[in-house]
Symmetry: C3
Subunit: 156 residues, 3 copies
């Protein structure tokens, strides 16, 4: 049972359009019949970059969590465009959350939790709680603070 509307309401967010591509890649690539890799998404919203900068400097943890949520929403918009409905998702398998921060920022998992919580809100504990790595980096495309990629399994 996908609870997208409730999740959006909870976080006072609305569903973005699938983000424009920033390069030569597919937003969603199917493989092996039921698996999809979702290209890394940034927290632009309907083409507008609302937040740039780095954790430990211009961006607070709360802002980083909000950015991670928007990354996940963009991923969901791409997935919805690819397979018609999020009801086709069997489980979210794996997330990597890349968090741009200073050399002395060490709270990457807290930032990633923003996106992880939203996935659980949408898909529930069993399907939405995925394996994850939260990684610090010195810079991300367009100076965004977070980029999230996902591996998803679809229903047969």
């Amino acid at each position: 049972m996908v609870k997208l509307e409730e999740a959006l309401k909870k976080h006072q967010l609305s569903m973005p359009n699938p983000p424009a591509k920033g390069g030569i890649y597919e937003p969603v690539k199917e493989f092996g019949g039921n698996f999809c890799y979702l290209s890394g998404c940034t927290p632009s919203f309907n083409g507008e970059v609302k937040l740039t900068g780095k954790l430990g400097k211009e961006v607070t943890i709360e802002q980083g969590q909000e950015a991670a949520r928007v990354c996940v929403l963009n991923l969901m918009a791409n997935l919805q465009a690819f397979c018609g409905s999020l009801d086709k998702v069997k489980r979210i398998v794996k997330m990597i959350a890349f968090v741009a921060g200073t050399d002395t920022f060490y709270d990457h998992p807290k930032v990633a939790n923003g996106g992880s919580e939203l996935l659980v809100d949408i898909f529930g504990e069993e399907a939405g709680r995925c394996a994850r790595s939260a990684i610090g980096v010195n810079a991300l495309p367009g100076n965004v603070p977070v980029e999230v990629e996902l591996l998803v399994e679809l229903k047969p």
Copy 2:
């Protein structure tokens, strides 16, 4: 033939408890029937952070290799808790070793080798020697020097 005991003896290590989670994720997520993604593990040992800092600064390559070994042991503890026994592993497919270092540290593969060697010690050359990327980053959660994630195939 899993040789966990011999491998632990060789490196004078003991098996840790599965590490406490640092966020909203699953330590091990099954997908497609026989695959598991293992969330990134850091080199804490039974909840104790024994080593912080970065390669090229406070942490030597030897210490980094030891840290990578402990990351892999934590991953094994999670996997054992998930599937009962490491005998169920068909092969280790893929590792990403994220190594936190200064801007002028370039020996990330040497650090990653600490974890890769342990996997070969445990599972043998064929099952244990996996595909790998060794990546430098400016910071990792909790200021640990290494974080390792794994993709694993289980026996049917």
Copy 3:
């Protein structure tokens, strides 16, 4: 229809030998019958490191794109050695392009496009255009500017 020769001619490149391994890993690891993970490759060419340094400093975007192309060629050399022929590729599923840059370099996707374009040149739009994340990092092994890893699906 694999168009390796045309792609090499277009970019005035020749096929390298499979790169020497820089650690304890497999260049290509099969799993699940038809999937392969390809270990991260750097832009050395037949053992010669032709370009070191970082984007935003010593390395221009054009040089970075050329480096990404050579990373992809090394991946192709490893894949060819593993499965005999690139004709066995069903699709390129996923790329992560790690781009080493300064803290204020933000054009990682442009650099990654060098490799992505080559994959499309070789395998065509449908099979060659993959999911992708382009990630900035502060340092890569041997001070190379780009490292690329791939997930590939083979024909049954």
